[in-house]
Symmetry: C2
Subunit: 358 residues, 2 copies
């Protein structure tokens, strides 16, 4: 299949992944890590997955601190395709800046945003859904990919879908975006069948996205277009930009206005939010998932996840549902059931001023 003419991928590469400490650190966050044992980092796998659709039309937006690492991991990407944010201004500024840059190169371009730390094993199904999203987006819609839920997750937002857009595609009207639900509400969402996970994958003409933004956040849209026109003004203008997520800035008001379309995404998707999620993505042998060199692990009568990233021998005896993450300067032992609480360790270390471990 040829690539999709005029389609650009925007890859926001941010987020510390604190629930994956001590593997993920501020200095090498999860998108820079190979968390699937594939030999490619999450960022590299994301770009690998996109380039059959975009060829070299990929823009990565990341924090200034990670720009060199990102360029190092993507040696084929021209230097100016990595946009470095002087400071974090949330997802609307990041994606919007990339859209504004792309808009200047090709006023008719369609952009799609795909976070650098997501895992989608079925590349074929992903391509099919994105191709359809791009075609729908050419008509001026803001399109989002709605991931088919596999369980009543409380860690994701949901999209409520309505009637089909028309007879030509699988796309549906998106009625609203809803925040992360509690367990009861999540179960109810699954039961109705009308809800899909919001994976933050938005596809729209660059101009559509920025024009929608102009309606609700005109100063932000103008600032982004000014930076794209005069990149030298980035450091001056960036700190004044509004700090807001793309969902709140554009997706929610546009949905209320009938401007959003959801394309069903019938593939497995995960954002590896914690070690329970990571463990479920890895092959399990004799009860134990290992990320890294299985030869370093001696597990006896144990179920769980072991990450021997410290290069040392890791012996685990008689543990049920355990998570052991060994790194050169820090070690974590917990259970998959308590994986969310790892965030608390990071907060405690920060409170104690142990920033070298963060």
């Amino acid at each position: 299949m040829p690539d999709v003419e005029g389609f650009w991928a925007v890859v926001p590469a941010g987020g510390a992944g604190t629930r994956l400490w001590p593997l993920s650190r501020a200095g090498h966050p999860k998108f820079l890590l190979d968390l699937t044992g594939s030999g490619r980092t999450l960022l590299q796998a994301t770009v690998d997955r996109l380039t059959p659709l975009t060829a070299d039309r990929v823009v990565v937006v990341t924090g200034a601190a990670h720009a060199d690492s990102v360029r190092g991991q993507l040696p084929g990407l021209p230097r100016d395709r990595v946009l470095a944010e002087p400071s974090p201004r949330d997802s609307m500024a990041a994606i919007g800046l990339a859209a504004a840059v792309v808009e200047r190169i090709d006023p008719d371009a369609v952009v799609g945003s795909f976070a650098a730390d997501h895992v989608i094993p079925d590349t074929g199904a992903f391509h099919t859904a994105v191709r359809e999203a791009v075609e729908v987006a050419r008509d001026g819609h803001l399109v989002t990919l709605g991931v088919e839920p596999t369980h009543p997750a409380t860690g994701f937002g949901y999209i409520r879908a309505g009637e089909p857009l028309d007879g030509a595609s699988t796309a549906l009207r998106a009625l609203e975006f809803v925040e992360k639900p509690d367990a009861e509400r999540a179960a109810a969402y699954l039961e109705t069948g009308g809800y899909r996970w919001n994976a933050g994958m938005f596809v729209a003409r660059a101009g559509t996205l920025l024009d929608l933004l102009t309606r609700w956040h005109p100063a932000l849209a103008a600032g982004l277009r000014e930076i794209a026109a005069e990149p030298a003004r980035l450091d001056d203008l960036w700190p004044q930009l509004e700090r807001i997520a793309i969902d709140h800035a554009v997706a929610e008001p546009a949905a209320a206005d009938g401007r959003v379309v959801v394309v069903p995404a019938p593939f497995t998707w995960d954002d590896i939010g914690d070690f329970a999620s990571l463990g479920s993505l890895l092959p399990v042998e004799e009860g134990v998932a290992v990320l890294g060199d299985r030869d370093l692990v001696h597990a006896a009568d144990t179920r769980g996840l072991v990450v021997p990233a410290g290069g040392r021998r890791v012996a685990v005896v008689g543990m049920d549902d355990v998570v052991v993450v060994d790194t050169p300067d820090a070690l974590l032992v917990t259970t998959r059931a308590r994986a969310q609480e790892v965030k608390g360790v990071v907060e405690a270390l920060r409170a104690e001023g142990r920033t070298h471990l963060l």
Copy 2:
């Protein structure tokens, strides 16, 4: 109190402590480690506990591989008071060689054997019991200290005690030594009240011990006395010595012959056989016992033992009954309930030829 005239301590320093892997290794076995957080190794604490009774009359017997470490840890001990075994020949040869060496220095000497890896917090009660044992031993008895059991342990042998020896002391006739019992039998032993733990603490005149040995193992006794007379012959004679434990060689037949006396030892005693035992000896804060720098440990809603001996941060979240032992080249995670099975890890590593980790 003055020291006990003519009393010599023999300290067998052996045993790999495989159930304490990866803390205890073949190269630095448990007696060379500070396992109580006192700032003194088990060997040093053993000698510290004995010198008020013996002054400088202490002989340590250890494997040739550890002789330098032992001398390094005991700088006050004359070099020739550390006897280096060319190869392991079990406890009778080790203790018997020391007895033979002491016998040549002082034919009337009383020797007492006290393993280098035991923990006895109440030094005063220990001294009282040993002083009494020495007095009884001067009359030609083989005396053993019988530790008051605190629970129906299955990891220790027991001594069945009979009638009082005479009115002058608390000593009792020892009727028999029994092997490590199963749980049911151990409970029955405790119920009768007539059984004590065999802690391997034997006190006798050096001559008595060797003469008793001569009755049942004449070649072994003669060989030990020949080596003591001509130390240069150690390497020649040692490999020919019978390999047998002191319990089987002397204590059991002598008890059957009515020659053994037990002095009650009303003090807490532990041989730190595994991590469950180690954890019970350490102070517990918020559910967690730490051996080492508590500042390295972040424990949240956790009960168990953490040994941060790798110098790294150790975070444990939501674990019940956990044992985490971190060292520079190997890490163990298990439960106190499964602590005995650590031996299996060591056996597996040996089978795989990973001798550098043993």
